[in-house]
């Protein structure tokens, strides 16, 4: 009789020991639950559970008009709020064949790049904190506040702006918008090398991120891991290069690619992307053409019957908006191909076999934003 009792109390060699890195966990950056099966400290397999922040945005969008959708899309991936709004607006404008003034294209591209830098700054602060370096949190967010000041001055809000409207912008930017950006670039060019001294050169950080979470180019393509995470494995998937939209065709910039596909490669891609975004900003900020800030749009926007597809490069990857319209003012069906949804599910293949501490480093390097996964 005693064997049975002992048997089901002690987990034997073959049974699995499953722990929960559950919804409320500092390293999951939101409400994402990893069911991790462990053998000692090495991860045997990992099952991500999502749905803890599924608000049904696609169902909501079927009942509201296009300008109203903008207020929902920037609450999906709130760290690239402008780029999400720009995706929906471009899709609507292409459907209506509306030609947006040059000024709007320049300002949209500038806002997208500023948003990318702000998102990478926050990723860098959180990634340092994941690996135990608390100072990165204060350095990164201190510089991010400079960008939020620019946003606040022009749009009144720091994080979610709903500023880019179908047809153009909600209103014109603040007069000293360009001056603030030039000040920021001058300031941040001095501060970014500090980031490298603080974390990139640190031997502990390098040992904890080199050779961990290896993802080959084929796995990246098979799992659809786009953005800096995909480019860390050598897959050139930058939509700004493949299908340039807004003012990206008027700007010279090169795509950051790394080939060895581990956590450190993804880290380097994002660090160099911050430098590249500043180059783009410098090329744009001086020659924003004059003109009005929006095209002539009817008050009620009705897309002609049909299907429309628009791809955009957010800070985390490729966001594609697929609108099926049946002619009235609300979309019949709208689907957001969110970058984090595909980036998340590669976790199992690239973390099994590594230690549980590396799991935290890999999930930090994939830079996941959970409401973008669940929508």
């Amino acid at each position: 009789m005693s064997e049975e009792i002992i048997k089901d109390v002690v987990i034997g060699e073959n049974e699995d020991y499953i722990i929960n890195m559950g919804p409320q966990h500092p390293s999951t950056h939101g409400v994402l639950r990893f069911e991790v099966c462990l053998q000692g400290e090495t991860v045997k397999y990992l099952i991500p559970h999502i749905g803890y922040i599924h608000r049904g945005i696609e169902k909501m969008c079927e009942a509201i008009t296009y300008p109203q959708i903008i207020h929902l899309t920037d609450r999906m991936d709130y760290l690239s709020a402008h780029i999400n709004n720009e995706a929906v607006c471009l899709c609507v404008e292409n459907a209506l064949q509306v030609e947006v003034p040059e000024r709007v294209k320049y300002i949209r591209t500038i806002l997208a790049e500023l948003n990318r830098i702000a998102s990478h700054q926050l990723w860098w602060s959180a990634f340092g904190m994941d690996l135990g370096a608390l100072t990165t949190f204060f350095y990164g967010l201190r510089d991010r506040e400079k960008i939020l000041d620019i946003f606040e001055e022009s749009f009144g809000s720091r994080l979610l702006h709903s500023f880019i409207m179908p047809g153009g912008l909600m209103h014109d930017v603040h007069p000293n918008f360009q001056k603030r950006i030039k000040e920021f670039i001058a300031y941040f060019r001095k501060k970014l090398p500090e980031y490298d001294q603080l974390l990139t050169g640190n031997i502990i950080f390098q040992n904890r991120s080199k050779g961990i979470g290896l993802m080959s180019r084929e796995t990246a393509i098979a799992y659809g891991v786009t953005g800096p995470s995909g480019r860390g494995s050598g897959w050139s998937c930058d939509i700004r290069k493949i299908a340039p939209y807004s003012a990206y065709d008027k700007v010279q910039f090169n795509e950051m690619l790394e080939t060895d596909g581990d956590t450190f490669a993804r880290y380097k891609v994002r660090m160099r992307e911050m430098w590249e975004s500043m180059n783009i900003l410098e090329q744009l900020v001086d020659n924003i053409p004059e003109g009005d800030y929006t095209a002539k749009m009817k008050p009620i926007i009705k897309l002609p019957v049909g299907e429309y597809f628009q791809r955009v490069e957010t800070a985390r990857g490729e966001l594609a908006v697929y609108i099926v319209s049946d002619g009235n003012k609300t979309p019949y069906r709208i689907k957001f191909r969110s970058p984090n949804f595909s980036n998340l599910f590669v976790m199992n293949t690239i973390t099994s076999g590594y230690k549980i501490a590396d799991l935290v480093a890999v999930s930090g390097s994939l830079d996941l934003v959970i409401p973008d996964i669940d929508r």
């Binding site: 089901d8 109390v9 002690v10 987990i11 034997g12 060699e13 020991y17 499953i18 722990i19 929960n20 890195m21 559950g22 919804p23 409320q24 966990h25 639950r33 000692g40 400290e41 090495t42």
Partner: protein, 116 residues
């Protein structure tokens, strides 16, 4: 004379620590609910027993650490009296260290220090 200061030292420690604990149990509000006593696992009720057969490597690490911890404890009394005894104590400790050093080398060669 020394023993009084030692007793005083323990008394003060007892009062401070005991006082804090007693005071907080007296004053703090208490609420009991079903879930409070269950283990906290990120908000999800944990399933499956936690008694697992750990890898033996962890046990070895702990034991080796214990040996060298005790070794440093022996150093303290030696350091106090080393001045009076002079050279003989020094040779004494060298022998002590070499014996333990050999033990460490043996453990290292056998791979007990390789992290699982």
């Amino acid at each position: 004379m020394e023993s009084q200061s030692l007793i005083l030292f323990f008394l003060v420690a007892l009062v401070l620590v005991g006082g804090a604990i007693v005071f907080s149990t007296l004053v703090a509000p208490k609420s009991f609910n079903l879930v409070k006593s269950e283990p906290y696992e990120c908000g999800i009720p944990s399933e499956g027993p936690a008694w697992i057969q750990f890898n033996v490597g962890y046990y070895l690490f702990a034991i080796i650490y214990l040996i060298f911890d005790v070794e440093t404890v022996f150093l303290f009394p030696w350091a106090v009296v080393m001045k009076q005894i002079g050279l003989r104590a020094f040779i004494e400790i060298i022998i002590f260290f070499t014996v333990l050093g050999l033990g460490l080398l043996y453990a290292w060669k056998k791979g007990a220090l390789k992290w699982v």
